[in-house]
């Protein structure tokens, strides 16, 4: 389970070496926008060696490669995939064909390296109007796709509107993405809040994203990670309630009772599912992925 995903430029060794202590559930080592064309090769090597040698612990590692309309993306994959990152983030996805192209290329590398198929997952970055309109088809097009992420900066340029803190201009896109992702059973991540200094604004933006149904939020600053984690974590009361729900269901099963109620409210299937999700999150927050 991811609440926070943190971008770290793929050309900053001092940050990368500490990537796993910044509190993010997932770090995204970036080979795309953070890296100028002249530095693509060195960043790629740095990120490859990070995966190979550094043993970052306690967070998921995602690599943002370059988009399919460049000559970099397959070179990125050649270097990165053999070292088993948790996922590849593919930017500027316009439709299922972009995902298919990358997925097939990854499959080739996996086979060549003797890796199990679908070891490396894909997170699609939706940041074009075409991508938004194709969101449902993208979310469900390939087994590797585990999540979608909305990138509002490029998107608002494509929409030809001004990006605001309030975000009224991206409301439709946010909701469309959440609906598409949920319909296909994949996670969905909200766009970064770009004012690094405005922590109050970050909380407000994150709470709104959570209210819309986003799984979590991406960040461009380590200073936003704590707030995102807080907003997207179940509260203590929610966790306690979830345990009560599951306990009472367990007891009802034992007693052979069909209908159960808790605090005067009938416990039906959606409530049980919700409780299970909360417990899963509780476990995930106190667990983690190791990269030895």
């Amino acid at each position: 389970m991811r609440r926070s995903m943190l971008f770290i430029p793929g050309n900053t060794p001092s940050l990368i070496v500490n990537g796993d202590i910044l509190g993010a559930d997932s770090i995204i080592l970036d080979l795309e926008d953070a890296v100028s064309p002249a530095e693509k090769d060195s960043a790629r090597i740095l990120v490859r060696n990070t995966l190979k040698h550094l043993g970052l612990k306690g967070c998921e590692i995602v690599i943002r490669i370059n988009p399919v309309d460049t000559d970099f993306w397959y070179k990125d994959l050649d270097e990165i995939v053999p070292h088993k990152p948790d996922a590849i983030m593919l930017p500027k996805v316009n439709g299922p064909e972009d995902v298919k192209k990358v997925s097939e290329y990854i499959a080739g590398i996996e086979e060549k390296c003797g890796m199990e198929k679908n070891t490396v997952k894909i997170i699609t970055l939706i940041e074009t109007t075409m991508g938004v309109e194709n969101a449902f088809h993208i979310a469900g097009c390939d087994e590797r796709v585990i999540a979608m992420f909305l990138g509002a900066e490029d998107l608002t340029a494509d929409l030809r509107c001004v990006r605001t803190k309030e975000g009224a201009e991206i409301l439709y896109c946010r909701q469309r993405l959440v609906t598409a992702a949920r319909a296909c059973g994949v996670d969905v991540y909200d766009t970064p809040f770009t004012d690094v200094e405005d922590i109050e604004g970050l909380y407000k933006d994150a709470r709104f994203a959570k209210a819309l149904g986003f799984t979590g939020k991406v960040s461009i600053s380590p200073r936003h990670v704590e707030g995102i984690n807080e907003v997207f974590s179940p509260t203590k009361a929610e966790i306690e309630y979830a345990h009560e729900v599951l306990d009472i269901i367990e007891e009802a099963k034992r007693m052979g009772r069909g209908v159960v109620s808790l605090r005067g409210k009938m416990i039906d299937a959606p409530i049980v599912n919700r409780a299970k999700q909360v417990i899963e999150m509780e476990k995930a927050i106190y667990g983690g992925t190791d990269h030895e």
């Binding site: 070496v17 202590i21 200073r223």
Partner: protein, 468 residues
């Protein structure tokens, strides 16, 4: 009776300064100080040789002293801290006699004991009158507290006050009284107040520094010391200041009324005073101009002498609950080095490090586990500034090590869910990233500095670096 005298030269003559004597300076103007250089230039012109300089600290702005060492004017140097410029020359063996390093508490204590004798003290005074009453709180070169200058004024055979703001007698709210002063000299400028602020007095924005600061604040909370009556000191470093910020937030949230904040005072400590976190500030030195402004206007912001701050025979450090300190190296026995850099060059000194670690109930070291390419934790520090038995906790971004002589503290931190690890584990984690660095080459036969612990005993020596 007026003690005004025409020039620094006349004051030197009137004091009878001769070859082989010891002169002293305080460092309240920090890197903006003009007085040490002015006096040494005059001494050189007068042809006096073989002088020992005892300055509470030596900064980069004092680099001209290197030439005075080369031409034999200065043959001895004693201080509590030395900036990297002069430190480099000393480390490369520019001076025959070893530098004597003390701590901020050890220096006045040694003067009081008579083991450190000052013939003539030259005291830069931002404001003075013609009979030698002085204060640092006012004047165009205001530096706030004059804490380090008290010992010089009280203990030197002769005292020369050097001011750029002569006011009508008497100076209101003087710090050092006229009875200790022999001569008063007026100069154009004693220094540049903007040089008081050093680059290390701002809260860090570095995410790793903030992470360490959060851990340190949690250690303070878990220790049980953060309650009404809490007393606290932090050095001026980005991460320690960030920790102070988190501690302040906790104090305000839990409505904790502390007793005092101490040390070199920054604006963050001033804010804590003003927001009710402390009853008083005990200020031996102002680290920025906000602190200078506060000590002038707020009676609860108190000036103290170095002796009262950190002296060996009972001083405020013994009433201190928590101190947050930095380190360039820590070893497996928790000894801390803040004297030398990774290549063995002098670039610092104890200041109050050893004093506060010894006096406080909880001494916390905050430092990143890896700096550039080098691990923080080593088998043996290049130079012991602060002995390990006085250091309680080492906080890094990858874990917190507790001194084995504090098992009850370790238990509290584990219980609070903090990432407590053994110090050798920290070393292993760092070396996994950096590899094991080759030992630096030093000329073991040549001691360039002796480090005196606060009780006056030699705790370590610093060797000459090998340059070729």
């Amino acid at each position: 009776m007026s003690k005004l005298i025409g020039s620094i030269r006349e004051a030197i003559e009137a004091c009878g300064l001769k070859d082989g004597m010891t002169i002293s300076f305080h460092h309240h103007m920090r890197n903006g100080d003009y007085v040490l250089n002015m006096v040494l230039d005059e001494i050189a012109k007068m042809g006096i040789k073989n002088i020992t300089v005892n300055a509470s600290s030596v900064f980069d702005t004092h680099a001209p002293i290197i030439d005075h060492i080369k031409n034999g004017v200065v043959t001895g140097l004693e201080c509590n801290y030395m900036g990297a410029k002069v430190g480099k020359a000393i480390s490369e063996g520019v001076m025959e006699n070893p530098v004597i390093f003390r701590s901020h508490g050890g220096r006045p204590s040694d003067m009081e004991k008579g083991t450190s004798h000052i013939d003539v003290a030259f005291v830069a005074a931002p404001t003075a009158d013609n009979r030698g009453n002085m204060t640092g709180k006012y004047g165009k070169s205001a530096c706030g507290s004059m804490g380090y200058a008290f010992a010089d004024a009280y203990n030197a055979d002769k005292v020369v006050c050097i001011t750029d703001n002569l006011v009508e007698y008497p100076v209101v709210g003087f710090s050092i009284p006229e009875v200790y002063v022999d001569h008063v000299v007026v100069v154009d400028k004693i220094g540049e107040p903007s040089g008081i602020v050093s680059g290390t007095t701002k809260i860090t924005k570095d995410p790793v520094g903030l992470k360490m600061a959060q851990y340190a604040a949690k250690v303070v909370k878990a220790s049980g010391l953060l309650k009404d009556g809490f007393s606290f000191q932090t050095g001026a470093g980005g991460a320690t200041l960030a920790a102070a910020k988190y501690i302040k937030e906790m104090m305000l949230e839990d409505n904790i009324k502390g007793s005092f904040g101490m040390g070199g005072i920054t604006k963050y400590m001033v804010e804590m005073l003003n927001e009710g976190c402390f009853k008083a500030l005990i200020d031996v030195q102002c680290f920025d101009l906000d602190a200078v402004e506060s000590i002038k206007n707020n009676p609860n912001h108190m000036e103290v002498s170095a002796s009262q701050y950190a002296g060996v025979n009972g001083s405020a450090v013994n009433s201190l609950d928590v101190v947050l300190l930095g380190a360039t190296q820590v070893d497996l026995d928790f000894n801390v080095n803040v004297h030398t850099d990774s290549n063995g060059y002098i670039m610092g000194g104890s200041g109050g490090h050893a004093d506060t670690a010894a006096g406080s109930k909880l001494a916390i070291i905050i430092a990143p586990l890896v700096r550039a390419r080098l691990p923080l934790i080593v088998d043996r520090v290049t130079c012991i500034t602060t002995p390990g038995h006085t250091v309680d906790v080492v906080v890094t971004q990858r874990g917190i090590a507790v001194n084995p002589n504090r098992p009850e503290l370790k238990e509290k931190l584990v219980k609070a869910g903090l990432p407590v690890v053994e110090i050798d584990e920290l070393k292993a984690i760092a070396e996994k990233i950096t590899g094991v660095p080759k030992p630096i080459k030093l000329d073991e036969s040549k001691v360039v500095a002796k480090v005196l612990y606060r009780d006056g005993t030699v705790i370590d020596t610093i060797k000459k670096v090998v340059t070729e």
